[in-house]
Subunit: 354 residues, 2 copies
Amino acid sequence: MSINELVNNSVVSWMTADGPEADIIISSRIRLARSLAELPFPHLLSEEEKGRLMLDKVEEAIKPLPHLKMVMLSEISDLDRNILLEKHLISPEHARNNSPFCGIITNNDGSVIAMVNEEDHLRIQSILSGLQLNQAYRYADDLDDSLEQTLDYAFDDQRGYLTACPTNLGTGMRGSVMLHLPGLTMTNRQTQVFNSINQLGLTVRGLYGEGTEALGNFYQVSNQITLGQNEEDILNNLWTVTEHVLEQERATRNYLWSEMKYTLEDRVWRSYGLVTNARVVTSNEALALLSDVRMGIVMGILPQVPNRVLNELIVAIRPAHLQKMAGREMDSDERDIFRARVIKDMLTKNIKEG
Amino acid sequence: MSINELVNNSVVSWMTADGPEADIIISSRIRLARSLAELPFPHLLSEEEKGRLMLDKVEEAIKPLPHLKMVMLSEISDLDRNILLEKHLISPEHARNNSPFCGIITNNDGSVIAMVNEEDHLRIQSILSGLQLNQAYRYADDLDDSLEQTLDYAFDDQRGYLTACPTNLGTGMRGSVMLHLPGLTMTNRQTQVFNSINQLGLTVRGLYGEGTEALGNFYQVSNQITLGQNEEDILNNLWTVTEHVLEQERATRNYLWSEMKYTLEDRVWRSYGLVTNARVVTSNEALALLSDVRMGIVMGILPQVPNRVLNELIVAIRPAHLQKMAGREMDSDERDIFRARVIKDMLTKNIKEG
């Protein structure tokens, strides 16, 4: 899939909602950090070296691989970089990077993407819908293997893959699962659940990483440890914990439904009423209201809307997407007005008949 | 109109919304306090005297007047008394009175009603839709004249009509206008307006009298002074002040529309979204939301619903009306659920096409 398609398609791979448990598990993501042997890490390279020493090698590596394409960030507008960021396809650091030698490698179907000259020389990542950690790992691993046919990775028998930041040493792998947990949050049980997750060496972040906890009740669970565990251990561990949290969320929703039916119905209908009638809405308020709406739809309380549309909404209400859709720059006040209209239209147009 | 009809008709005279300025001025009310000569005030009468000395005289007075009927409160269930109270047709004190000698006189079309053995021997009142103080006075005055053909009122050339409470001495008349002032309240200008009203010898109360200020942004403006002014002076004074407040409210709404369009639209649409989607709603929250909705409908922002329905809603959401409609007793939690359904049904069923 070309960068143009990734930017312009309203739905990318992880947003399709066709993965297992996609009502609660938004996406599974695998990221592999890789460094080239005998080459300083990107923050130690001069701009010229990033180009000559690093980029030239990568270009050579993908030349025999016709399903891969590389695009330089400098060819992409600021707005489109933010579109990729809002779709969780590149990191905030990569979106902001001014170097002319930062790039993105994509494959045919957009199921895997690699950032070139980010914190590491290469960050390969695959994000899929629902609980598909193993499949995401396979996609990332395939690209990794393809590139390794030509590239010489920095690897140490003792420490495994060498990375710019020591927290990634070893497998260089981070697996993350994005979960929607409004039930646990409503009943104030999320802290307890997250504490036990932390004790298992996993970490919990918000929708857009550190400091965005509780935004729309979306939480990313990911492995902390990359050293002393192989990829299979990490995937199994993360998968087990995710399954456990998923069960807790489902059990809590069942409890709410059987014990607090009116309170629950009132809450999701009110949020639906607000989000489909408001004329001005900030992005944080929209995420909070859409969180209730998502749960209400999934639980069959509200009119049915496909999960794909609900995923699309999380992204469509962000500043870059709104401006892309409007076809012009908008200040924050204008965006709040336009956002209200977009949400109302997307929800009401996509209500399934019957 | 029989008491049965007053209880069971969903709309009584003042709720028809066919009076002048009925979008903002809900109703005009005239009340005349009258005492019978040579008879102690009700609170000084024994129960037996209330019957023998007082009620017998009143029964005799209405005998030659076939358009008048008297019903004793003891013949009316507690629920139906509260229905009359919620319709503003009798006072809280009268609704609660356990004496077997308290009654209500009604005329054919329900445009005038008199409480018998309330604080005064007779309290004659007429409530009409919109700004109709003079017409309401005429109705009350007609009943007053009819009764006076037989009854001997306590009247003193110096002090006028003598009443149980000295604050009613003189004309015994209280005129009140119920206004809906969300614009002034939203812009926080109501205090200033009410202060100037007080300086003119008028008083401002809430929807259900003292202590219910700001409930649904409904305010009753009425005269304080009954002594030293004749009926015409009181009516003119009240009419002038009401016209002034009405103009202020209209000007404020125009200001909101031209200067804060999005904020205003957002507010009324949100309230509409909440009140038509909530599954549980208290009566105070309902009044607050319906206040925004009423303004939004009147200003053409929201789908059109007749003012009559909006007046009906103010009353239909009260506890006695809800229980009457449900045909059974309901506790507060059940009422909150039933109230939400009633509001949603009444609003959505009464949206005018086109």
